[in-house]
Each structure stands twice: as C-alpha cells, then as structure tokens.
C-alpha cells in the first residue's frame, strides 16, 4: 500500500509543479514506483514540466467519468524507471471531477504505487478540495515573501480542518545573499510564523529555468544547488534524517578568505 501526498501552496507561482516533478523524479531515482497526478484541471502544466506533453491520450477527467481505465491514462516516463503521470484535462473545468472521484482514483493508485503525489492547483476552492480529498499527507510550498507565507498559513489551517494534520513545509526560491543582507525573511522567521515542520529549503537557481525549458528534472543535475536540495527533500520523505545543506557553498570572496586564514 502506497502513500498519497498532496503538494499545495494557496498562492500560485511558488513552485508547486516544479516541486512535484522533482520530488517524483527523485523518488523514482531511488527505485520507488511513483504516480504523479496533475489536479489542476483546465490549466495543466505538470506534463510540460516533465516533458511528457506529446504523449497524452487520456486524462484525469476521462478516468473519473469512466471513459478509460486508469492504466490507459497513465503515461510512463521513459527516462525514469517507475515514474508515471496522470495528466489533468485541459478543456474541462475544475468542477468536472468530484472529491469522491478523486478519492477513488487515489485509492486505486496507491494499491499499485509506493508514492502517489498530487499537484494541487492554486487557490482554495473546488480544485483544492479535489486535490486534497484522497491525500493522507500534505507538503506546503512557500517562498520567503509576505504574500506566499500568508497564503501558506491559510492553507495549513484548511488542511488541518480537513484532517490532514502536520503538513510539512518546503521553502522555495530562497536567496542566501539577500537573507544575509537582511532583505529576505530567513528560514527561522518563516518556521516561527507558520509553526510547522520543515521538509526542505530550495535555493533560487537559474538551472531550474534551464531544465524546465528542456522538460527535464533538475534533481538529476549533480552540480546544481537546487538539484541537491530536491535530492535531500526526497530522502527526508523516505524517512532519512538529512541535515539542511549549507546554502552558500564557499560564500563570497571575503568569507572564503576568512576561512582560509582561519577566522570563519
């Protein structure tokens, strides 16, 4: 029996879909069978982030309405053994699926897969209700901005009201340099305010744009900082205790010099 995890945020554009793709790919790299579900009906994007947009035949709404079997709609990612995508419908709207139908689909998926990861749409309406209906655990993605943290707080309240207790937090797009200058909220500021457990911190990284342009996962990139951060998140989901990585590798010239002469 697998585990159903929803990835949500409230606010749009904080990196839910990128996180879903990379966590999914990361778990598949570790040998797990993973099903990714795009619950953003009408605005599907997980397919393009994963580079699978040309292989869609059936979608989530087709499965919910019985137009095809679940297996027919699942797209197998050829680059990762074990990674599958259930795409969202693009032409229907978010009322095309009911929470009970999502629950049923999740139940079926977790019989076959070790991890079922649901990419939740932005907002807190019907699409959100659908996405969390079949979930047993939740990951909340936020960025170090007032608006994103505020929405994360609201979503955490709604998740707890829906019995999805103790959601885990991913802080995305952190800029270590701005944090050091006191111009960006740091990890402790955000954790203090939201009072939830931290699952990981992803530093701002241009490499994400490059990999997303190509429809690839940054988690494969050994040299990128965000890839390393996503690999750490993956291992924590698997239950391994992994310390937070040093966000400023080597630091700037000055801190490097201090280290060399033994001051830092």
């Amino acid at each position: 029996m697998g585990e159903v995890i929803v990835i949500t945020s409230g606010k749009g554009g904080v990196g839910k879909t990128t996180a879903t793709a990379n966590i999914g790919a990361g778990l598949a790299l570790r040998g797990y069978k993973v099903a990714l579900v795009d619950a953003d009906i009408g605005l599907r994007n997980l397919d393009v982030v994963l580079g699978l947009e040309n292989r869609i035949v059936y979608d989530l709404v087709d499965v919910a309405h019985g137009h095809c079997r679940l297996k027919q709609a699942l797209i197998k990612d050829k680059r990762f053994e074990g990674l599958h995508l259930l795409p969202a419908a693009q032409t229907k709207d978010k009322t095309a699926v009911k929470p009970e139908q999502m629950k049923e689909i999740c139940l079926q998926l977790k019989e076959e897969f070790d991890y079922v990861i649901i990419d939740c749409p932005a907002g807190i309406e019907q699409g959100f209700r659908n996405a969390i209906a079949g979930a047993e655990k939740a990951i909340v993605v936020t960025t170090p901005e007032v608006s994103a943290v505020r929405d994360a707080d609201r979503v955490i309240g709604l998740l707890e009201a829906a019995d999805l207790r103790e959601p885990k937090l991913v802080i995305n797009r952190l800029r270590p340099k701005m944090v050091r200058q006191g111009d960006m909220m740091n990890i402790d500021d955000i954790i203090d305010i939201l009072a939830v457990d931290l699952l990981g911190v992803i530093p701002e990284d241009e490499q994400i744009i490059v990999t997303t342009n190509r429809g690839e996962a940054v988690v494969l990139d050994d040299r990128s900082r965000s890839g390393e951060a996503f690999r750490n998140v993956t291992r924590r989901i698997m239950g391994e205790p992994v310390p937070l990585m040093e966000l400023e590798r080597n630091g700037n010239l000055f801190t490097r010099l201090r280290k060399i002469i033994g001051l830092g």
Partner: protein, 93 residues
C-alpha cells in the same frame, strides 16, 4: 555616484525583512481571528435592509471584509449602488 551613495547608506539601515516579518505577523493576527461566516452573513442582511431604504443596490455583488492596517481592524463594505431611490430624491429637494 548617487546610486553608490544610497547603497552606502542603505547598508546602515535595517533590512527590509524585519518590515516583511512585522507586516506578516499583523496580517496573520487578523486572518486567524476568523470572524464566523454566520456573523458576517447576518451583518450583510442587516446592511442590505438598511441601505435599501435609500438606494437600489446590487445585493449579489455586495462584499464585506475585515481589513487590518496599522494595528487596527476596519470593516470594509463594498455596496454597488444601482440608483438612488426616487422617494429619497424627492425628500432631499
């Protein structure tokens, strides 16, 4: 040159993250206060009844929110007025 000077002086002023954290704290105080929907709906009905004596209003687009600024919470009602009632116009002449 000016840019260089402002950057030089900015270094001494506290970072903007403290402002962000304080604003966030305030906004969450309000968000978490969670005025019950029933109370807001009762207030809405009363408002509609009173305002309707003077204006024809679009009841469906009426919006009531609680707004926080400078440590205070304000009740903000947006009530689209379709037209002033004839009887009221007459009375004011």
């Amino acid at each position: 040159m000016l840019e260089f000077l402002t950057r030089l002086f900015q270094r001494h002023s506290p970072g903007s993250k403290d402002v962000a954290r304080e604003r966030l704290r305030l906004v969450l105080v309000h968000d978490r206060a969670n005025v019950s929907p029933e109370l807001l709906s009762m207030l809405k009905d009363d408002l509609i009844r009173t305002v309707s004596k003077y204006f024809e209003i679009d009841e469906k687009s009426l919006e009531i929110t609680l707004d926080t600024s400078d440590n205070m919470v304000a009740l903000v009602a947006s009530i689209p007025v379709q037209c002033v009632k004839r009887s009221v116009k007459m009375a004011s002449v």
